[in-house]
């Protein structure tokens, strides 16, 4: 999917969506809608990182509206606070987008392993798990390695897999039980 195919939700054309709402209840709703939009946009386009000054979402030319700098800050902070984003630097210029929470991701990975017959001794590399042919269409296809490791750590704790160190970090092997 290219970025041009992304289908924007209806409220993206609602002009007040780009003004942070003064009334608390409405603002909460608005921020939730922004959160949803950012996640969907990055997940569908397989984008791992949101670079604050580059993100095209802040601006909708078709209705001539954009979030101002303070508003962008508010939206991003909310995303991080909700656990769907993590700042990558102290200056807060870039944000890692958590497509799925680590627990959800762990479930997805294990389900994939069962379906592809890897459970019960199958081994694959970390690289194959996010960029291999077998993961086409999986929710974690193209995902950030760091996030994948967190999910695998959860599976290790549950005794569902073992991670072996490879020559490079991408070549780390995973054995599913």
């Amino acid at each position: 999917m290219t970025e041009g195919d992304f289908e924007y939700p209806e409220f993206y054309s609602f002009p007040p969506f780009f003004t942070i709402q003064p009334v608390e209840a409405t603002r909460q709703k608005q921020l939730a809608l922004w959160r949803e939009l950012i996640l969907k946009y990055h997940t569908q386009n397989k984008l791992k990182t949101l670079v604050v000054h580059e993100c095209p979402l802040w601006k909708n030319d078709s209705i001539g509206r954009k979030l101002d700098e303070t508003a962008v800050r508010t939206v991003c902070s909310d995303l991080v606070d909700s656990g769907h984003g993590e700042w990558l630097d102290e200056e807060e210029t870039a944000c890692r987008i958590l497509w799925r929470k680590p627990e959800e991701l762990a479930t997805d990975v294990y389900e994939w392993a069962s379906q592809t017959g890897n459970v019960g001794g199958g081994i694959c590399t970390l690289y194959e798990l996010h960029s291999g042919e077998d993961v086409n269409g999986a929710s974690f296809e193209g995902i950030d390695e760091e996030l994948l490791r967190r999910a695998l750590a959860i599976l290790e704790d549950e005794g569902k897999c073992t991670v072996f160190q490879g020559e490079t970090s991408s070549e780390d092997g995973i054995k599913f039980h």
């Binding site: 002009p15 709402q21 003064p22």
Partner: protein, 298 residues
């Protein structure tokens, strides 16, 4: 259904009385000449002693026509029941038919919607009342689920579209329907009846007419004429107003406009849009309806 006689003092002079056209009762035939005269002359010529008898006669005739009217109503009710029984499936499946049936019932004081038990429920099987109660629940669900976005105001047309879309989706997913009949859609009239049902439960459900649209309000917030007029003004435009254009077009002072907008904002019925130094106040409900109309026109 038993033909009970209602009305007063009609027991004696019943035979032949229900003939339409104000027939003269038997006891009056002796005075046919005077009865044919205009009533003003009659009073002058009548001796005092006949006054009482005349009054009595008038009462009798009045009671008779009353009785005949009641009989007619009763007959109509029976007819209506037969009709309902015969067209039961039309009433339940066809929104236009249902609407007309309800209109037919109203002047006779029959409300099939409230008859959960008894005669009407038996006549109509499931009961047309149930149909509207079910619809009312669906309407309430749609209104509640969008409340945080629109503050509890939603165009009736939008609610109707949403429900019909859901219905279409459901029936296409269960493709193996036993009857080949295609699913009938809800009409706007159906939705209006359902909202009236909800209104009786309290909680503020009501329909507010704004300009050319009916809006369903699903919150108890009191909306006065000022709020409705602002909404109508938004409807004339793109779905928004600014303080300046309200003061100009409605000739209100700023205070009044701001007071009205403050409530609408507080309730989430409008969202604020700061654009080039001017604040616009958008009604999600009005905006969405306009979008739907635009989309439909294309």
């Amino acid at each position: 259904m038993a033909h009970r006689r209602r009305g007063v003092g009609v027991g004696r002079t019943r035979a032949g009385a229900s003939r339409p056209g104000g027939s003269v009762p038997a006891s009056g035939q002796r005075r046919t000449s005077s009865a044919a005269m205009p009533s003003s002359q009659m009073q002058i010529q009548m001796p005092q002693t006949q006054d009482d008898r005349l009054q009595k006669k008038a009462d009798e005739m009045h009671a008779l026509s009353m009785q005949s009217a009641l009989d007619t109503v009763e007959k109509l009710q029976v007819k209506l029941a037969d009709f309902a029984k015969k067209h039961q499936s039309d009433i339940q499946d066809d929104p236009a038919f249902r609407q007309q049936f309800l209109q037919m019932c109203a002047p006779l004081g029959v409300d099939p919607l409230v008859s959960q038990k008894g005669f009407w429920a038996k006549t109509l099987g499931v009961g047309i009342g149930d149909f509207y109660y079910e619809l009312a629940v669906k309407v309430a669900e749609v209104c509640f689920s969008t409340r945080s976005k629109n503050g509890g105001i939603m165009a009736l047309a939008e609610v109707c579209d949403t429900l019909n879309r859901n219905k279409a989706r459901r029936s296409s997913s269960s493709s193996k329907r036993k009857s080949g009949k295609k699913d009938q859609l809800y009409s706007k009239g159906d939705i209006a009846v359902a909202v009236k049902k909800l209104a009786t439960l309290g909680g503020g459900f009501r329909i507010v007419t704004v300009g050319t649209s009916d809006m369903i309000v699903s919150v108890p917030t009191e909306l006065d004429q000022d709020h409705v007029e602002i909404m109508a003004l938004a409807q004339d435009g793109e779905g928004c107003v600014a303080v300046e254009n309200v003061t100009r077009q409605l000739r209100w002072n700023e205070d009044r406009v701001e007071r009205a907008l403050a409530l609408l904002l507080q309730e989430g019925m409008v969202w604020k849009d700061d654009y080039h130094g001017i604040s616009f106040y958008w009604f999600p409900s009005v905006w969405k309806e306009k979008m739907a109309i635009e989309a439909g026109a294309q």
